[in-house]
């Protein structure tokens, strides 16, 4: 009965890696690019620790490591110890004389050294030696990447003016729970998660999508480790440079074709023997937090297109049906011109969006993110009355919290009440209780258990 607001869980790089089994992680660290990507995303303190022990080829006692931070940062140290252990970057080992120490994962150590100092096998992708006669500039790549990506989004909002997407992409959308087939209906329809997905910024979308893709990697006979390694390699490549596909095995070639479909790499022809990574790919290892894409969005006028006025009117300078569809998620559209759409934010339109599972914060951050460049000249970008009102409309919906349960009252004595309350509490069945008037509510599922216990107890008591 209780209504839980669920937001889409978009993991960053580390939380994703933590979900992988230990054996997979160990194999992953065989790749210098992965080690470097993991390393550069670590918090500063853990980077310092790793640098300090990178060239110490033995375990370092905990006591010594602990003395590197001042006592009031002990909490921080605890956090990084936990993080590094979970990522299997280092392990706890028993040293001589029973001392506990930390030892860097030897594979990680070797490959991070390799990444930082060079030597060993070449790990970054080789740029093509012969120049591409039909070289592509950065602008073309950006346009291509966004075009391909929007194709996926277009499909989700159901505007059919664009080409259909491949069955692989469809499968991922379904696997990710972003779209689903209604029973008795052949068409895919967008889910609550899908709506939230649409309002995320592009780099977060790509990252989320890729995670779901990697989830299904094994089922399409792709090696997860190869794919991840390749993605990290991509993220260290140079925009506007073409790379050779010669050294790639069949699995990776297949993976490359998928990446090409989503606009992460550009290839003129399948058999071209070269490909260009795009900004979408360069962003991957950075996760949803910081991204080059956002700087791209900020610099280009094309992506900021929304003006919101304090009278709840929304002006969207766009001719893209995708952008119009996104605005229509929470706006009532009133006028439509070739390059401009005028809408109005009303209580009903926002409530409609909330019912679909979109949160107020997502609406507000979407409006801010896509604000027209003119709006930046006079902050605040989004009038605060609008932002506040959208949040108020959201809060209005959960003034009440409903929970199914069974109420117990009219206890004869305080002792009886406490026994039963403690019993329910220990088993996690207690929803609510008050000493004043001796009342308690237990969950519906727990009612039987609590009742049986009470019967047993009162029978014993009366004997």
């Amino acid at each position: 009965m209780s209504v839980q607001q669920r937001t889409l869980d978009c993991k960053d790089l580390h939380s994703y890696l933590k979900t992988l089994p230990a054996a997979v992680l160990d194999r992953l660290y065989n790749h210098p690019a992965t080690c470097l990507a993991v390393f550069r995303e670590l918090p500063e303190l853990s980077r310092i620790y790793i640098m300090r022990i990178l060239f110490v080829d033995q375990a370092v006692p905990k006591a010594i490591m602990g003395s590197w931070v001042s006592p009031n940062s002990a909490r921080e140290l605890e956090d990084i110890v936990k993080l590094l252990t979970e990522l299997r970057v280092w392990q706890e080992v028993e040293m001589q004389g029973g001392l506990k120490g930390w030892l860097l994962n030897p594979t990680f150590r070797r490959n991070l050294k390799g990444a930082l100092l060079g030597g060993g096998n070449e790990w970054s992708m080789k740029p093509n030696t012969d120049a591409d006669p039909k070289a592509r500039g950065i602008a073309v790549l950006d346009e291509y990447a966004m075009g391909r990506w929007e194709c996926v989004l277009h499909f989700m909002v159901g505007s059919h003016q664009h080409e259909a997407i491949s069955s692989d992409a469809l499968q991922i959308l379904q696997h990710a729970g972003l779209m689903k087939k209604e029973p008795g209906d052949n068409q895919l329809s967008i889910t609550k998660d899908g709506f939230q997905f649409l309002l995320m910024d592009t780099s977060a979308q790509v990252w989320y999508f890729l995670l779901q893709y990697l989830d299904t990697a094994n089922s399409r006979n792709l090696d997860l480790i190869d794919c991840l390694g390749f993605l990290f390699q991509l993220s260290f490549s140079t925009l506007g440079q073409d790379y050779s596909t010669d050294s790639m095995n069949d699995g990776l070639q297949k993976f490359l074709q998928h990446l090409r479909e989503f606009g992460l790499v550009y290839q003129r022809k399948r058999k071209d023997g070269r490909f260009y990574p795009t900004r979408l790919a360069l962003d991957i290892a950075a996760g949803p937090k910081k991204s080059m894409l956002n700087s791209l969005n900020a610099s280009s006028q094309a992506t900021g297109y929304i003006v919101v006025e304090t009278n709840y009117r929304v002006y969207a300078y766009t001719d893209s049906s995708l952008q119009v569809a996104l605005i229509a998620l929470f706006c009532e559209l009133i006028y439509r011109f070739p390059n401009l759409v005028v809408g109005i934010i009303t209580r009903e339109s926002v409530r409609e969006a909330l019912k679909r599972g979109i949160t107020a914060d997502q609406i507000v951050s979407f409006l801010r993110q896509h604000a027209h460049s003119e709006c930046y000249k006079e902050p605040p970008v989004l009038p605060s009355t609008i932002a506040d009102q959208i949040k108020l409309w959201a809060i209005e919906r959960d003034r009440f919290l409903y929970k199914d349960g069974v109420l117990y009252n009219q206890f004869d004595s305080q002792a009886d009440f406490e026994i039963l309350r403690n019993y329910a509490q220990e088993r996690g069945l207690l929803v609510w209780h008050t000493l004043n008037g001796r009342k308690m509510v237990v969950t519906k599922e727990g009612h039987d258990e609590v009742r049986k216990f009470w019967k047993r107890h009162s029978r014993n008591g009366s004997m």
């Binding site: 003034r399 919290l401 409903y402 009342k439 509510v441």
Partner: protein
Amino acid sequence: MVNATEGVLVECADAAMKQLLLHLDEKLPPDKKFILHDLDETHVFIASKHLEFLQSEIDCFMDSVSFPLAEKD
């Protein structure tokens, strides 16, 4: 003797919202009353069968206290 009653626990965001529930309940004829127990400042216990009715009542009430903030033309 201990008494057990099935129903729905309603947790209100603030005391004023609970008063609204009491007020709604008061106006109803006896067979429609939904509040079983008034528990404390922000909690009431209600009958599950009246939950839908209550939710629509509250929606109506919320609609009646909100007014259109923007002109359409």
